[in-house]
Symmetry: D2
Subunit: 121 residues, 4 copies
């Protein structure tokens, strides 16, 4: 990734809020609606892969690779808007979640297995 500091991420979140305010769009940005918008972008991402094999999904032609990148950007944008609307500290929560995952999926127990934690007795 390029060299940026965290203040640019705060800046990004502020820039996205300003973008919405300038357009009088915050009225549409209830968390319920933002969650819908987010999953719509996630599906645009899925669409690029639906007929590809797993191997082909690693080797995307340049144009498709760029489109996939832009869908990921859209998902990230809506995630930041949703976090802003609900006053969620995204990075803090990600660290919490990794810790939770480390407990649910101890390496020695799950190595090489794709089973969900609920599928272990």
């Amino acid at each position: 990734m390029g060299a940026i500091s965290m203040s640019e991420i705060e800046e990004l979140s502020k820039r996205l809020k300003q973008f919405a305010v300038e357009r009088d769009w915050e009225q549409f940005h209830a968390p319920k609606n933002l969650a819908m918008a987010l999953i719509v972008e996630a599906a645009e991402l899925v669409e690029h892969f639906q007929w590809l094999t797993e191997q082909q999904s690693y080797e995307l032609p340049e144009e498709k690779h760029q489109q996939v990148a832009l869908e990921l950007a859209d998902i990230f944008i809506y995630s930041l808007r949703l976090a802003e609307r609900l006053n969620i500290n995204l990075l803090e929560t990600v660290n919490q979640k990794i810790a939770i995952n480390e407990k649910k999926y101890p390496a020695d127990k799950v190595k090489g297995s794709s089973k969900k934690y609920t599928e272990y007795t």
Copy 2:
């Protein structure tokens, strides 16, 4: 947000990669599969809001607020994994996308309207 530097985001991406490697899970992490995992998390987010009104979606009880935060974390985690697998610079692409959106949706033209850009003649 808490005070962190960008190297911690790189650190996060590395930590997530290591988490997968330790568990011999990278074999499952074809971009196609990660896109599927990402949309599954996006739907877990949507599920929290499906029967709520827009107003209720702003005023989540504490437990639900925390669950919503954790779903956002999951979405962000899979986004970072997908970006790593496809060598995508997520922050760079987000900035590109905001610039694209500023052109598609000039403030003076779209103020207060939720129409998609394709719905303007």
Copy 3:
């Protein structure tokens, strides 16, 4: 609904299979891929509603109403393809699921509440 008999639904499923065979598309129709295609259509449905209020979602302009109908058709088409590929009796399973739901959500217990069954102690 128009007056049709069940043999026309079998006919529909056969017609959809033939459509895929004529185009040598069955090679792409692994259940994994069909599930992805289905959720992509479900998201195109969601997109029509994301900025609307619940009230507005009842009162769709004619053009949008027709688009929503076509997305529902796409979802049903992929459901039928998936059922065909996995030899699933869709109608039988729907009846099973309604019976399951009647047990999970007894009317006297859940009347007027949108809580998920797991949220009752």
Copy 4:
């Protein structure tokens, strides 16, 4: 599929409406909300396949095969509810959509190709 007549499908749609009315749930069944509930079920379907290969997705163990069937049932149930709320004739629209697809994807032109119609010049 079992031997049933179309009046049983109308019966199904009526049974689903009655199920909601008995529980005073129609208040939550705005089309916007039903679209959200539908995509949540579509994601539960996707989740069963996310770490499987395409080949494995054809060869599901019995328990998973049954779960997949139940998710398809849930999707169909929400599709019927949404069609009922918006007065949509689902089967009529499916036939319209197949006709549209036959024009978009003439067999001689698209045979063996998974390209979207917009990807043909």
